[in-house]
């Protein structure tokens, strides 16, 4: 049986490749879009480190990193960044003391104890908590937490580290919990089943089998939580104040790196002055701290994801 179409099909000799330019154009456009993210990183590095470098022409790095007084706008000006770092670390410590254990505990419950219906309620609730903007947490710290602490007898100042730290801890719980739960969920069933078969209780399986197996993911969640605490701005800006005190007392006001950057950047500091460049010097310090932690967290996550993906 031979139709005209069939005969035409029988001689398909010419198959010269029409250079498909449109495909190359498409690939070019897509690649360009991908470059936007590269440009962002390059931009961040340039924006931070060039002015920071200029800053360090005038102020020695050693003085910057070891000085205990931060007063860039005063006469005489002091550029010791330790108070800002200590403020950041103090609030991070308070937040971490809350978020890491509670986040992990919540994750263990979700992963090992909660039934499907409970999970169906708890997980969206956690997502809800994670979706609340930090300015709302800042409001909460200032208007509710600080008065509350005073009511129970802790003499905190109007702006203080403790309020901000506690509220920040709550803010970070979803971060720690979801990443830890992810890691624990990746632990294969067989490990649990083996332990149960030997007569272990749920608690033993959770603490002696699952958590150790998921430890790299759990640590990643801790590191990421701390990194987010260090980089957080609004809670500390609203509730912690802007006095760069070098103190270990969480009841006093203090200033974090982020709060300083926000306050100064919003102001009318003239471009190019030394005061203006403090934004970038502190910003570079902040960026380096979080960058190192992020890399560590990403590597840890890759480590446990590789195992099962």
């Amino acid at each position: 049986m031979s139709t005209p179409a069939a005969t035409a099909r029988a001689e398909p000799q010419l198959r010269a490749r029409r250079r498909r330019y449109s495909e190359d154009v498409v690939k070019g456009v897509l690649g360009l879009c991908a470059l936007v993210s590269v440009a962002t990183t390059v931009g961040i590095v340039i924006a931070l480190f060039i002015p920071a470098f200029e800053f360090f022409q005038d102020i020695s790095v050693v003085d910057f990193l070891t000085g205990t007084e931060w007063a860039p706008l005063f006469e005489p000006a002091h550029f010791g960044v330790l108070p800002l770092i200590s403020g950041t670390l103090l609030v991070t410590a308070v937040a971490g003391a809350l978020a890491l254990p509670l986040g992990l505990g919540g994750a263990i419950y979700l992963s090992e104890y909660a039934g499907p219906r409970t999970r169906g309620v708890l997980k969206p609730a956690l997502e809800l908590l994670a979706g609340i903007p930090t300015i709302v947490f800042g409001y909460f710290a200032l208007t509710f937490m600080t008065p509350l602490l005073r009511d129970i007898g802790i003499q905190v100042e109007v702006f203080n580290t403790l309020s901000a730290g506690i509220v920040m801890g709550v803010y970070l719980i979803p971060t720690v919990a979801s990443l830890s739960e992810d890691a624990m969920g990746a632990v294969p069933r067989d490990l649990r089943d083996g332990a149960y078969a030997l007569g272990s209780t749920k608690m033993q399986v959770a603490t002696r089998v699952v958590v150790p197996a998921a430890v790299s993911g759990i640590i990643a969640s801790f590191v990421l939580g701390i990194s987010r605490a260090i980089g957080e701005t609004m809670i500390v800006l609203v509730a912690m104040g802007q006095q760069p005190n070098l103190t270990l007392d969480p009841r006093a006001a203090a200033e974090t790196m982020t709060a300083f950057i926000a306050a100064t950047g919003a102001g009318d500091v003239p471009t190019g002055t030394l005061e203006y460049k403090t934004i970038f010097a502190v910003g570079a310090t902040l960026f380096l701290m979080t960058f190192v932690m992020n890399i560590i967290a990403i590597r840890l996550v890759r480590k446990y994801r590789e195992v099962y993906e």
């Binding site: 049986m1 099909r9 198959r15």
Partner: protein, 288 residues
């Protein structure tokens, strides 16, 4: 084979030889559509198949059989350059399609695949309507003519028209497994190919659907050239005019496994008087 006597009706399973002989040779033209010479394929340095040479004849059904891992699927994908999509795949040797080297520099894989279609082991309908599934090929290839007519013609050729003509706008995912596979065949037919490759087309289907697909192959080979991969020897005996038996060659250290072509001949011969002992062992069920 059914024998009837006064006492009872017995049904004995036919031997492969009987099936093949009943089937006969079935084709008269011996014009070669594909000429394969010394083909070898490697994935990232590991040889999957090597030293394969055979010709595929027009308007025939050619079957590739053999144990798993012998490179049949790799081989069939050489005919429509689907191996191009696997990173790290290298094809050595020649595959001539009607005299033209498929892997020449000036050859456009898109044109190749328009003429040499493929049906896969697991039916893979697009998540679209039945109509849009069939129309996809003609649309991307900018084929002229009425789309509606093309769709209907393809569905009729695949023996699916009667079952779906009143629900062309419904999702293809709602069809049964056998219907989905016939849909995939219709999809392939809609671009008017020259050759249809089928990689284990019925292995995921129930026996009744399998029979329908096999009947389809008998019909289609009048217009097209068909190459199938199958692990089902009875199927090969039923549908194929020519059969190629592949096996695995294990390197002395036991690590490298490469597929090789053992024997290629008329189906009737392969299943009755195979020339190679390995073929005989396989078709009589001694291994594989």
């Amino acid at each position: 084979m059914v024998t009837m006597s006064d006492q009872a009706t017995t049904i004995e399973p036919m031997s492969l030889a009987q099936i093949a002989q009943e089937h006969g040779d079935g084709f008269s033209e011996r014009e070669a559509v594909f000429e394969v010479k010394d083909l070898a394929v490697e994935y990232s340095g590991n040889a999957a198949i090597r030293e394969v040479s055979l010709d595929v004849y027009k308007n025939s059904v050619t079957a590739f059989i053999g144990p798993s891992g012998c490179g049949k699927s790799t081989f069939i994908r050489c005919f429509n350059r689907m191996n191009d999509l696997v990173p790290g795949a290298r094809v050595h040797g020649d595959v001539l399609y009607r005299g033209k080297d498929l892997y020449a520099d000036d050859v456009d894989p898109v044109e190749v695949r328009r003429r040499i279609g493929m049906v896969f082991q697991k039916p893979n309908p697009f998540p679209k309507s039945i109509y849009d599934n069939i129309a996809f090929g003609p649309r991307v290839l900018n084929l002229k003519g009425s789309l509606d007519e093309r769709v209907e013609r393809a569905l009729r050729q695949a023996a699916l028209w009667d079952e779906v003509s009143n629900r062309l706008k419904e999702s293809a995912l709602g069809l049964s497994g056998g219907q989905q596979q016939r849909l995939c065949i219709a999809r392939c037919l809609a671009v008017e190919p020259d050759v249809i490759l089928m990689d284990e087309p019925a292995s995921a289907l129930d026996p009744i659907s399998t029979t329908r697909i096999e009947d389809l192959m008998h019909e289609l080979k009048r217009q097209y050239t068909i190459v199938i991969v199958t692990h089902n020897m009875q199927q090969a005996a039923r549908v194929a005019d020519m059969t190629a038996f592949f096996s695995v060659d294990v390197a002395p250290d036991g690590n490298k496994r490469t597929g090789i072509l053992v024997e290629y001949d008329r189906t009737s011969k392969i299943f009755t008087t195979p020339a190679d002992k390995r073929t005989e062992d396989y078709v009589t069920g001694r291994f594989g």
